[in-house]
Amino acid sequence: MNWASWSEFWAMGGDGLYVWSAYLVALIVAATEIGVLALSRRAILQHLGRFTTLKRSSVRATGDNDAAR
């Protein structure tokens, strides 16, 4: 362990601003990417779900099996 106390750890020998903004921004950017991935996955699944239910309902309404393809 290099640090005697937490305040010393956060200060990073006077370079705290540089060190912590580097690691924090890296984490924020990665977290943003994960969030965007989760949102776009949900969006495409919702879109597909609506798409398939629409198709299925049109099959049921018209009895036209070709519409499902």
Binding site: N2, G14, A22, V25, E33, L48
Partner: protein
Amino acid sequence: MARNALPKFGKGIFSWRTRGIGDLATYGAVPPLRFAGIRLNPGSGKAWAWLLLSLRITFEAYDDMPSCTSALSRSESQAPLRQEGTVLEGCYRRAGKLAPWFGWISATLWAGGLYLVFSVAPADPGRGEHYRIAFIHGPATWISMLIYVLMVTAAATELRTRQRLASMLASALAPTGAMFAFISLWTGSLLGKPVWGVWWVWDARLTSELLLLFLFLGFIALKEAIDDTGRADRATGVLALVGLVGLPLLYFSVHWWRSRQGVPIPDVRIDGGGGVTAAIVMLTISLSLACYTVAAALTRLRIVILERERGSAWVSSGRV
């Protein structure tokens, strides 16, 4: 390291000191490599091999120029590969199974890496605590370059074999690559300020990493701008191949232009770290970022497959 003894080239801010292209051994950073009594120059050999390889791939892609150019005006639906739907479906499922594993491995390695960076690695009296930024800066730069190479490989595969899965993989890798290029620039700036007193200089390293970020962003923008996916794949593939030629410049500039950056961090031994060298810390973080890349790219690949295959039977049947 006696930097002043090195020959100086150029003038003013355009000057640099070097002792030959990529000759790491002269700095004592790596032991001199000998083969059959001949001393090999590791840096320059790799640089030339890389340059030739990238040119070769570019020319290979242009080799079937007629099919390449006609492909630019052809839509992808005209040449579907047989069984491609089955391949894509299998890939979609396998990616879904693999991605969480890579995610967890990445998180574990990241936790271990942070422990090494902040707890095991001792204070460096010569550098100050800001040297800990290098443990994210270096790996982010490496991974951004690695992603670019993977992306170009996928794009070149698409240009040659017209497998749409390859181009989907390329577009799944691009945003993560842009992210790591951004992290590399951001952390590099924060590392540069306390060391040299400036946030940014237009030297070869920083400029080529900025170029890499723009290549990723240009790749994404071009893909989005062209509606016909087949044409978009080909145009972005050619863009990625052309950009590949500039990559060795970035990779070897750390050894070629030593004016700003001292010895690459992995060469520095951490004394008192219980046998842990900086290279081990770097490797742990790099592996973590690599696993993150795989997890993110596989997750995005699943989204891209769904978006581009939404008309196919296996997607619209609601089995996803």
